[in-house]
């Protein structure tokens, strides 16, 4: 795909969100990545022109943040958390199983170029360890077997649903969401899951409630 008039209009829409146009560089890089499956020299040049920056200034930003890739990611980005808590609770074994299934290591792709594997840092989901992500959507509470099963289903083109989010689309679709987050999918994933409700559930079982004003001491 190219940077046609429709894309340029989207870029101007993003720039309009900020008092200072330079602030738009990060969402614009997400948009570029949604078009090219990576951040390309052309994408960075278009962004630089639009913001009145040099390509070096845009490249400096693109190379700082780990979510911007400078090789095509492929259809799906697979993240496995191997930070301490997930790793120790089984994330290392999940990573090894997925790595073996894909024949790829950290920041490498499978032989078809469909999947990009990455050891990711803490995903703010430690309560749901071991955590995996597909195109950055949560795939919580994994085992080596369940993780490989997800890869198999994606490889066969079957529907896979995030544990706390929508049906998995692809990497570029998620990147577009990061640029335009009102994507019509906020209703997917439903209410809090049982882990997010753990405390509320116990409180209900034990008849515990927070006092309302005027009820006196807790």
């Amino acid at each position: 795909m190219s940077y046609d008039e429709g894309v340029m209009a989207q870029m101007r829409d993003i720039i309009g969100r900020y008092p200072n146009s330079r602030s738009a560089v990060m969402p614009l890089l997400h948009l570029a990545q949604s078009i090219d499956d990576e951040v390309t020299p052309e994408g960075m040049r278009v962004i630089a022109d639009e913001l009145g920056l040099t390509t070096a200034e845009v490249t400096a930003v693109a190379t700082f943040y780990t979510m911007y890739k400078r090789r095509p990611v492929g259809k799906h980005h697979i993240g496995v958390c191997t930070n301490t808590l997930c790793a120790l609770l089984g994330g290392d074994a999940v990573y090894d199983a997925v790595s073996e299934r894909l024949g790829a290591g950290h920041n490498e792709k499978d032989v078809d170029g469909t999947f990009w594997l990455e050891r990711i840092e803490c995903q703010a989901a430690c309560t749901h360890a071991p955590v995996m992500t597909v195109d950055w959507e949560f795939m919580d509470c994994q085992t080596p077997r369940s993780a490989v099963d997800i890869i198999d289903r994606l490889a066969r083109g079957e529907e896979v649903v995030s544990t706390r989010g929508p049906v998995i689309r692809d990497f570029q679709a998620t990147e577009h969401t990061l640029a335009f987050p009102v994507d019509g999918l906020a209703g997917e994933g439903g209410e809090a899951d049982s882990i997010m409700l753990a405390g509320l559930t116990v409180a209900r079982e034990l008849g515990m409630k927070a006092p309302t004003p005027g009820e006196g001491s807790a």
């Binding site: 330079r22 950055w136 080596p144 706390r164 989010g165 906020a186 809090a192 405390g199 409180a203 807790a218």
Partner: protein, 436 residues
Amino acid sequence: MTPLTPIITAHWDVPDYFTLEGYRRHGGYVALPKALGMDPDAIIGTVKDTGLRGRGGAGFPTGLKWSFVPQNDGKPHYLVVNADESEPGACKDVPIMIANPHALVEGVIISSYAIRANHAFIYIRGEVPQAIRRVATAVREAEQAGLVGDNILGSGFSLRITVHSGAGAYICGEETALLDSLEGYRGQPRLKPPFPATHGLYAVPTVVNNVETITNIPWIINNGVEWFRQFGTEKSPGFKVFSISGHVARPGIYEAPLGITMRELLDYAGGVVGGDGTVKFWIPGGSSVPMLTADHLDTPMTYEAMAEAGTMLGTGTPMVFNNTVSVVKAVTRWLEFYKHESCGKCTPCREGTYWITGVLERFEHGHGTDADMDLLVEVCGNIAGRSFCALGDAAATPYPGALKYFRDEFEAATRTPVDEAFPPAASYIFGEVAAR
């Protein structure tokens, strides 16, 4: 026994609570008109009187932070919500954004009104699209309902809210690095002073607050100072959204007054699973604060009691590890994280995290030496307090904290690889996960 007090989390099981309609059905946007009828300074005064302290880790008094913003200075002001939750162990802001995005938005509107900001930004880490789409959609719904935009509810107050997606950088949780990032630069911290309250986003007065902090605001406006202060202690008033993770039977979100103990929280969470069923070590608030042991389970979860115990409440997101876990391995993995996330601006942090990790990996393989143990203490001492931001201090924290209680394990790792002494599979929780 300290009771659980679901407040922010009280309606998370309502199927459409994340929508405007669902939130409104359960008391949402009642605080907003009330706040818009108050003098902005009165709101700042109220928040000051509650003693609410920042829930992002540092625990700075929120009202005091707001009061540092110079008023009537003719400059634009900004509110920036730090939604870059990336601290290892912390997972409470992302659940709040997924389950309760409108409470955050309502808090943003009220807080912006109080500090006289007409533009607010919510900087959400890029790796959590579900949180980003929920918050952005909540903002859109609020705009369509006239709760965000021009002349909100006829008050004369106008506000724009921009939801900003990050792109993978733990450092952007540091408030000045976040501001640089939001301005379109590499996310690197600034030297303070000047502080963001006077020279923040685009060098104008800016308040940077954590998601949970801002989400407290509607309840404070609705229920008042006295109600808020009945929870917690004199120095740590209020309630807290705790995320409990690790070797516990029921990990998850538990909301309780500050001052609850880890023993009580553990009890609610079903106790320790795996190993011999006991706590070996636990971390009260993210990997950046020193670890504690089973001897500290009765220490109240407050800013002051945790400081007295030699650690910090931090993000209030305890991680629990049973006796199958190698402390050496845990610390090594955290240092690999800090090495990866160091932005590279300050030499002590950039180089120090590299060398600490290298030496720790020697221990992991059973090749550490006694001299290495002292060397690491020295290197940590040369990082702490010698970098612009707290990432350096955080990187210098896990090793000395672990050495204090588990010196014998580092000694053992001068002879035996940790995976031999602590077979990794013994720590796995796949049985529990499969049952969930």
